[in-house]
Symmetry: C2
Subunit: 359 residues, 2 copies
């Protein structure tokens, strides 16, 4: 078992990583919650809902709410259903919400917790690799038809209980997705870690390695959000690869590509743009090989229209005064933000699509 | 012009009270907002929307969104419409929302601002007396069919611009409503102020007196929320009179009684309960006379069922572990919180209904 302490502006909370700890949630809680609502999706529920529910043996009222699995549930409609569940079960300010699932559930349940009675306690119980990213940092949100995560808040969990055993049932696609954010954290922080990652094939991942990667990923994220929780400044670095990723996701429609896969493609684009501005070695070729080896969907790029993507990037919430701000790297571990010219963006995107989409 | 500085946990902000200052909003803003969305209701818009809109003469994009006047607009439906307006007008993180109206608009527009892009700047431009209370302290919310303000957050405005001229168009009923919260602030703080208020007839209110009362009311509220923004502790005092008020409001259905009128009745009940526990003089008789003189709707009590009201009080979000916590006074200016017995609550409520509802 490994732990990490996160210093948020509202309170400090702990991230616990370990095997089988979904069975031991009550002993990890600091308060004695009498009413609990476990929110999960209908895929995760089959595997883990009973384990978590049955861990509460102290006579607490344990309720459950299950939404359909998939990004489409991060919607106003499901949000309203969950608020209804909170009132039906009469959760009060001393109740707890448990977000059991991947980033979709973490964001949806976290946003519900943040606005029910102006905020009640919740914990994150991530079950995907990607959720090493989403469960830490306090960003919670739902989607709006006009864009991802347009409705949300900053609201930190009381705890993050990361049971590594749950990763065993994750599909190859979702492992790939999660490692999109893991490798982003490596690019943002440490060339040695990056190089060891670039050697890895996701098919032969050991649980030791997984634990190490998740731990390091969370460390990188935590160290940034601790300095800038509200994204006034350096938290933007975490958006490395995301400007294009968001555009791809909304262009293709949610479901056609996972978030982490889109990030992995966006990352490549950010590396290419970065290379135009700096001579530092960003391991671009090794990264392309890694993407291919692990079967990231490079071919998706082929079907995409560069102009439409640039238009979508302009209407991204990180856009300020209609200029596109990009996170670039001046070498591995050295992110910075730069306002970018439309035509440069377009040309480089065309090159990437040409080069990789057809390879 | 009078100003007050409020120290919130996230930032410090200023309350400005003065005549005609709705025409001078841009010069009071600390940032140079390029996109602005004024949110108001269809009654306030007739009087003041153009004034505020036209005060922006610097070429800013000024958009407006108007919802129907009345508590029913503090709904999920209007909230969604406003979020749509934010995306339609492409508000970004450097945009501003202006909440122009009473407490309904302040709560609704504030909640929208708090969750759009995880929170963008907003200012309160209160136009009712009641909003001296709602515009300060950072509580924003919408209603749920199962109860008032069940969905919301804590989110402080960047400024409160209180133009006292706008009070001139307020109906007698709304003046009465606003003074329900003003007199609550007097009961919570200062017997001299209370006594001077009890002498006042709301029909002959001078603008000097109004300014003084609003200023003092805001001071009381500010001094409490500065010590306990998140209602962990003493902020509960501000709920004096509110436990019964909320029950009356939901029993009658929104619209039949104003919030402040309900508070004025709830206050009477809280005073009566307080008198059971302490000998201090709470000016109960003077208060009843003041209510009658100013035509507070005491007769509404007659139609109400004490048992149903107590049931509703139990299902109030301040209820913890199903016990009813009440704010009581041990003398004017000395609030405290006490868990109350159902039967005592019921008996006293029957007495009040009997005594005042028929008088
Ligand atoms: N809040 C943040 O800071 C942040 C950061 C990154 C991503 N996100 C959000 O996270 C979401 C993506 O997260 P995700 O990739 O975890 O998606 P997800 O939660 O939709 O999970 C992906 C799929 O895996 C299934 N699943 C989850 N755990 C499983 C398990 N242990 N075994 C088998 N199947 C399992 C789910 O049912 C789903 O079908 C997006 O909505 C994204 O916007 C948020
Ligand atoms: N957030 C808080 O801390 C807090 C505190 C107290 C009350 N509230 C909320 O405030 C709301 C009640 O506020 P309210 O009483 O101001 O209600 P309101 O905003 O509904 O206004 C009352 C009526 O007066 C009209 N009006 C407003 N200003 C006017 C003007 N200058 N001239 C003519 N007509 C005008 C409105 O159109 C409406 O019909 C409730 O929803 C309550 O829950 C919130
Ligand atoms: Zn991401
Ligand atoms: Zn009130």
């Amino acid at each position: 078992m490994k732990t990490l302490q996160i210093k948020a502006t509202t309170h400090e909370y702990e991230v616990v990583l370990g095997e089988g700890i979904r069975h031991r949630i009550p002993e990890m809680l600091e308060k004695d919650y009498q009413s609990i609502l476990i929110i999960t999706d209908d895929q995760v529920s089959d595997y883990y809902l009973e384990d978590v529910r049955q861990s509460f043996t102290g006579g607490q009222h344990v309720h459950t709410a299950v939404v359909p699995s998939g990004e489409a549930s991060k919607s106003m409609e499901c949000y309203e259903q969950l608020l209804d569940a909170c009132t039906t079960h009469q959760l009060d300010r001393r109740s707890l919400i448990i977000a059991l699932g991947g980033g979709m559930i973490g964001d949806l349940a976290g946003f519900t917790a943040s606005t029910y009675l102006r905020g009640i306690d919740y914990i994150q119980v991530p079950t995907t690799i990607l959720a090493h990213d989403s469960s830490v940092g306090g960003k919670v949100a739902i989607n709006h038809p006009r864009g991802k995560n347009l409705i949300g808040s900053f609201f930190n969990p009381q705890k993050v209980v990361y049971d590594l055993e749950t990763i065993a049932t994750l599909s190859r696609k979702e492992i790939r997705s999660g490692y999109g954010e893991v490798i982003k954290h490596a690019f943002l922080s440490d060339v040695n870690w990056l190089e060891s990652l670039l050697d890895v094939s996701l098919d032969t991942l050991t649980s030791r390695q997984l634990e190490e990667d998740l731990y390091r990923g969370i460390q990188v994220k935590a160290s940034i959000v601790e300095k800038d929780e509200k994204e006034a400044d350096i938290r933007q670095y975490l958006n490395l690869g995301h400007t294009l990723a968001h555009a791809i996701e909304s262009e293709l429609g949610y479901g056609r590509v996972t978030h982490g896969e889109a990030v992995a493609l966006g990352l490549l684009y950010a590396l290419k743009l970065s290379s135009r501005k700096s001579d530092k070695d960003l391991r671009v070729n090794d990264y392309v090989n890694w993407l291919r080896k692990n079967e990231y969907p490079l071919d998706l790029l082929r079907g995409l229209d560069a102009e439409k993507l640039v238009d979508r990037m302009k209407w991204d919430k990180k856009t300020i005064g209609r200029q596109i701000n990009f996170v670039l790297l001046d070498g591995v571990g050295h992110p910075y933000v730069q306002a970018m010219d439309d035509s440069l963006l377009l040309n480089e995107l065309k090159c990437v699509i040409e080069e990789v989409g057809n390879g």
